[in-house]
Symmetry: C2
Subunit: 458 residues, 2 copies
């Protein structure tokens, strides 16, 4: 029989074990930070009913959805009733609405699951990827102070991830909307069109955005108004300084004033969370494409790798679940695209600090007659919590040593007849390529001490 | 607008946060045991190509598969090329074959992901559920001693889960196959038919199985042969005793003898892993439906809840991936259906030992003027690693206290003007409903000490 070529769908990230360990450590780090801020975990099914999943979408989302159907439904020629989630926001809305009576508000949930998008396959685009979301959802109202807590949460996550300097960029769409209103742009469609152009600033530069805003036949803004807008969205810097600058602009619009006040609240709160000024700032150019956001918006850049783009984004929304409940559920949250983040960091060799197979041990079997003793050593090590594999094949010693290195273990325990006679084992540090004799009854304690020293150096 | 009723597909397990925490702890416990035995993690995409996924299946599997298709493919009227995995075994076979050159054998992998089956919706049947698999896969050959290690692994997992007494039931299909051969049943199809009847022993009892085996028009076995077989599959007990009994039967068949030898090897190894005789035994009635298994087979029962059925099953197979590679890849492994296990344990109230929101803290805000101080206390607690939520709403104190209880936190920190003036905070133990004053500068240490005491009692 000719084997079928084993292959995976393009646009998925399937890792070898050593990389999977590093990725798992990244997820665990994010999870621990979310839990430290007392966010509660939820998980939702990968499949949602189509009528619920596609309520809020325009055509764009629908084009990227994977529909799912069991063989039975297909055989009957039905339309698929299920589809795979494309983000964790719609499932959150459905979850909160479905379980509303049993939840305590403000409801703080985190969720770290895979989402699915039928993207065209191209480098760096994933069709299946992890999102790690944290949101605080209030009932009827939610204090603006939670918007500061989200900045503190993101700062904690990226500090813990140890991926170098980062910058959380904060803005408030009310400032942009109010400013545009003061320029005479009050129609939501026109406003969205202007903000879409502003969103391109980073990529195309100020001249092309200016041209797009003022170009005929139907310019979005008059030339003077475009200049004032581009002046505004050029403002960026530490929170307190930007808030002063925005207040001093004398824009006479209530929405604008509310937006500036909200930015001021966030700015005043953050030192209390121990968030240093150096890792966040207000950037008026951050518009975020989605109309969904109504106030604070966030993006996060790695300073040494700004070309990766935002690695953690989100914002404030007025009403999470109006499609599913009559309760008004305002909230604020962020999302980390962990698969893409890992992929980008790995491509740049920035993950050296993590992973690498953990400090595990392999017990070799040079002498078949001592096999039982090898098992006993393995059991002792595991009882002490040390990940241990006992090789159960009677290979030539040379093959066993080659295997231990290739296997990626940190230590190899070798028990030959000679060692056994002397009441010791040979302990080989496979990273340092050093070997020493350790008394049989001190093997576990010795490896534990070495592992502790390694851990504390991290 | 009338809201759409929020709902989830039947056959999924969606949990409230407190239960999700308990479920997460169950998964973490399983993962830690797998890692202690130095199994390496992998994850595979939820979708596989249809031609790969359905190679090995007969019609049964195909009937239960969820096909997946992006909007684009649907629009073109194509047949779906993708389907959701229905187990973790086919993905493992594909993974090992695809990455064969980069893996070290024996390859020890664990994988804990959701799988999907288009089951008809009925109580206790899940359409989406977690499988937690651990397998050792060799290249060309794999020592039978690994079959003992798997028993030790399962024993470690269920001991760690603390769900009461359990029994790992071990058998070897070579014993059954060899015994049947000695009765004249050598045709694989006939053998499978006999084993299917044997598999029903637990449910329908010995009389009905005997009737099914010997009933006309085409009896599977003559009456005397059926008696001998039913005598064999009635044998059960501690490993050493059963091995002696099987050897003493004097069955003259090489396959039978090999099977008994393999059971003897497993039996001899297990004490070295510290596995007590009380938690495992050999049960000749364990046949396992799947033809896939070729040697050792496992099932695991909770002694006080045998009606749940097997909570962890698996076995030895001759060749994992012959559809995808010419290499012979024998292996042995087990699978825990974690969603069903959790569901069954929860329904019986057997999860009281875990979960319950962890020892987290809420900081209340009785005095808006002290809001900054509340944030500072929260930051201190988090810096010490204690999950902490600071309430950021200015609610009436009574509402805040009710919220703290409902929220499920362990401690509430209350800072009123009176406490502030005295340099203390009021620390309320919400479980014990006790309250005490703690000096402001000792809050973190105090809660840490309480939490440590709670942990050590577990």
């Amino acid at each position: 029989m000719t084997p079928i070529k084993p292959r995976t769908m393009p646009g998925t990230m399937e890792l070898l074990p050593a990389d999977q360990i590093a990725f798992q450590q990244m997820l665990d780090t994010i999870r621990r930070a979310y839990e430290r801020f007392a966010f509660l975990p939820i998980e939702t099914p990968a499949m949602e009913f189509v009528d619920l999943l596609l309520t809020k979408s325009g055509g764009e989302t629908e084009k990227q959805v994977y529909f799912a159907q069991s063989s039975g439904g297909r055989a009957k020629g039905e339309d698929p009733k299920l589809a795979l989630r494309f983000d964790l926001t719609v499932p959150l809305a459905r979850y909160v609405a479905e379980h509303e009576a049993k939840l305590t508000f403000p409801f703080r949930r985190y969720q770290m699951q895979r989402v699915y998008r039928g993207e065209s396959a191209q480098k760096g685009r994933f069709r299946e990827f992890y999102q790690c979301d944290a949101d605080v959802v209030g009932k009827e109202r939610l204090s603006i102070e939670y918007d500061a807590e989200i900045v503190a949460l993101v700062a904690a996550v990226f500090r813990d991830l140890q991926v170098g300097d980062f910058e959380i960029r904060v803005n408030n769409r009310k400032v942009l909307a109010g400013f545009l209103a003061s320029l005479g742009v009050t129609d939501p469609v026109a406003r969205a069109a202007v903000l879409r152009e502003v969103d391109k600033l980073d990529r195309v530069g100020v001249d092309r955005v200016a041209a797009a805003l003022t170009s005929s036949p139907e310019p979005l803004l008059a030339s003077a108004a475009a200049d004032r807008l581009l002046n505004l969205v050029g403002i960026a810097g530490p929170g307190a300084a930007v808030v002063r600058q925005l207040s001093a602009l004398g824009v006479d619009d209530d929405t604008y004033r509310t937006g500036v006040e909200e930015l001021a609240t966030v700015t005043e709160s953050l030192p209390r969370y121990g968030v240093p000024d150096t890792c966040w700032g207000i950037h008026l150019a951050i518009a975020r494409g989605l109309d969904y956001y109504t106030g604070t918006v966030y993006e996060t850049l790695l300073r040494a790798h700004a070309e990766i783009g935002s690695v953690c984004s989100g914002g404030r929304y007025d009403d999470l679940a109006h499609y599913f409940t009559k309760s008004r559920l305002p909230g604020v949250g962020v999302s980390i695209g962990a698969t893409r983040l890992f992929d980008q960091l790995q491509a740049r060799g920035l993950l050296s600090g993590v992973g690498g197979g953990a400090a595990d041990v392999v017990v070799l079997r040079f002498t078949p007659a001592l096999a039982a003793e090898c098992l006993a050593i393995g059991t002792e090590l595991r009882t002490a919590g040390i990940p241990t594999e006992v090789l159960l094949e009677d290979w030539a010693p040379k093959k066993q040593l080659a295997w231990a290195s290739q296997r990626g273990a940190r230590y190899a325990v070798i028990l030959g007849e000679d060692e056994h006679a002397r009441g010791v084992v040979a302990l080989k540090d496979l990273a340092k390529k050093a070997q020493e004799d350790v008394p049989r009854d001190r093997v576990t304690g010795h490896i534990q001490a070495c592992a502790d020293r390694t851990d504390s150096r991290r």
